[in-house]
Amino acid sequence: MSRIEDEIRQVMADHDRHAPGAADLLRALERMTGPRRLGPRSFGPPRRLARWYVPLFAAAAVAAVVAGSVWAGGLLGAHWRTIATGPRHSGQASPLSCPARYAEPALWVPAPPSGVDGRSRLVPRQVPRSALLCAYTSRNAGQRPGLALSGHRVLAGGLGRLAGQLSLQPREMPGQQIICSLVYGPQTVYLVGLAYPGGGAVWVAASDPADCVGTSNGHFTSFGAIGPTVQRAFRSGRWPFRQRVSCNGPLDAGRRGQETVMVPAGSTSLVICAPAAHSVRSGYQALVAALDSLPTRLSTRGCSSSHRRSGGSARSRRSRLNYQLLFSYPIGPPVRVDIITGCYPEIDNYSLQADNASSIIPIINRLLRSG
């Protein structure tokens, strides 16, 4: 091997880090708007794709991260059959209509899912034909008998993103409570009415951030906080892009699959809040593997410093370390894992808890040092 060949290898490797990632590609595809069926002859020069819509490409990737295949760690699946493309246009008229009043209690839906599977997911892994948002404003204290409809709109775009986010909401496990700060004041409850090709329909109930409820379609209930996203969609008329994961910002964390493993497969980046943010884009799989190998139990979403270890030792008096791990995915919500040493169980992803973080902290410290 000659010297110049070595140098070429080296310079090529040096420039690896400048290449775009799969997440960039998926995001680009996700941004494409406007439904039109994609036939085999519809393929064209790549640059034209900027005005295309390939919602199911995104949805496919969404599903790919979820469904469980032999590829990519076994959590993949998709529906490419409904890939669509075409110019932007305003929202398709919805065959659904908003109920005049929102019945109580919270997370009421006017009808259970019909014509689609609403038991295994909040919404199907499929881009809906239309999305109708209905808003009902009230106060969250006292009686709210039958909230009156205060507004409605049909979304003009972002239905692929909607399918990605809502189909990946985590399941609320029996007995789990949503921990939040209930704020007295005006509240808005939303219904999202999704109509699908073939006549299926799903209603999803959500509320704004000040209310302490999750989301439900009548059969599947999630603790996922989709209210803020629905609120933004209602204001803009399009399902919004996901917000960048941040240690300080609002976070719609919670992802399907985290009720079975601490960190579902397919994450593409990690932010460690310690408390300053440290971004990690690669080399953190050992951390994922270590977290996923821990013995877990259903999360109570709380911890206690008076926990006694199985060996009978006294309560931990060591100083507490507090980390928040935010795992992002190409499509769908991130996973948040909180670690508080000395407060047992020390690890919590809000679906599962694990007692002991002693095997995890050294890995986090290595990642922090290498960053």
Binding site: V11, L49, A78
Partner: protein, 171 residues
């Protein structure tokens, strides 16, 4: 798992790798993304029409990326002549052959003809044998050697004009 799931999974599993190869070809993030995007959609259409999944998805998609790259760039660069004859090695005036400026080398890579660059990327980045590259590009192995040799010669001239050494080409 049906065919479409496999393709979608491949985006997640191999998208990074394909994009890195695309970036080596194009030296441009947006162009690399377009290249891979175009190749993926072509493959999607082709596989759907045939209804038959390839055994090695990555290799199949890489071939699509290479073809897309050469096809679209060839329109811009038609002056290249492929020959089986390996050119004479350049004369060296410095025995050390140290290439200090890697930016210059990267720029030199970017100035090669599409097929020369494709050969060097596939050989030195992807680690393919000349026979495999020939199969990918649809040409003879001797043509691959010729393209590689000319590409290397061009790079020596551009990247290290004053310090070219006599080296053994991989021929």
């Amino acid at each position: 798992m049906d065919l479409d799931e496999a393709l979608a999974a491949l985006v997640v599993r191999s998208g990074d790798r394909l994009l890195r190869v695309g970036y080596q070809f194009t030296h441009d993030r947006a162009a690399a993304q377009d290249l891979v995007q175009g190749a993926l959609l072509r493959v999607y259409g082709s596989v759907r029409r045939r209804g038959e999944a390839p055994d090695d998805w990555y290799a199949y998609l890489r071939r699509a990326v290479v073809n897309e790259y050469v096809r679209t760039r060839r329109l811009r660069s038609s002056s290249e002549v492929v020959t089986d004859t390996v050119p004479e090695r350049p004369v060296a005036d410095c025995p050390e052959d140290r290439i200090a400026d890697r930016a210059q080398l990267w720029a030199a890579l970017g100035s090669l003809s599409p097929r020369q660059r494709a050969v060097l990327v596939l050989r030195y980045y992807e680690g393919l044998a000349d026979g495999e590259i020939a199969a990918l590009l649809g040409c003879r192995e001797a043509s691959v050697r010729s393209l590689a040799s000319r590409g290397l010669a061009s790079m020596r001239q551009q990247a290290v004009p004053a310090r070219i050494s006599v080296e053994e080409d991989r021929t």
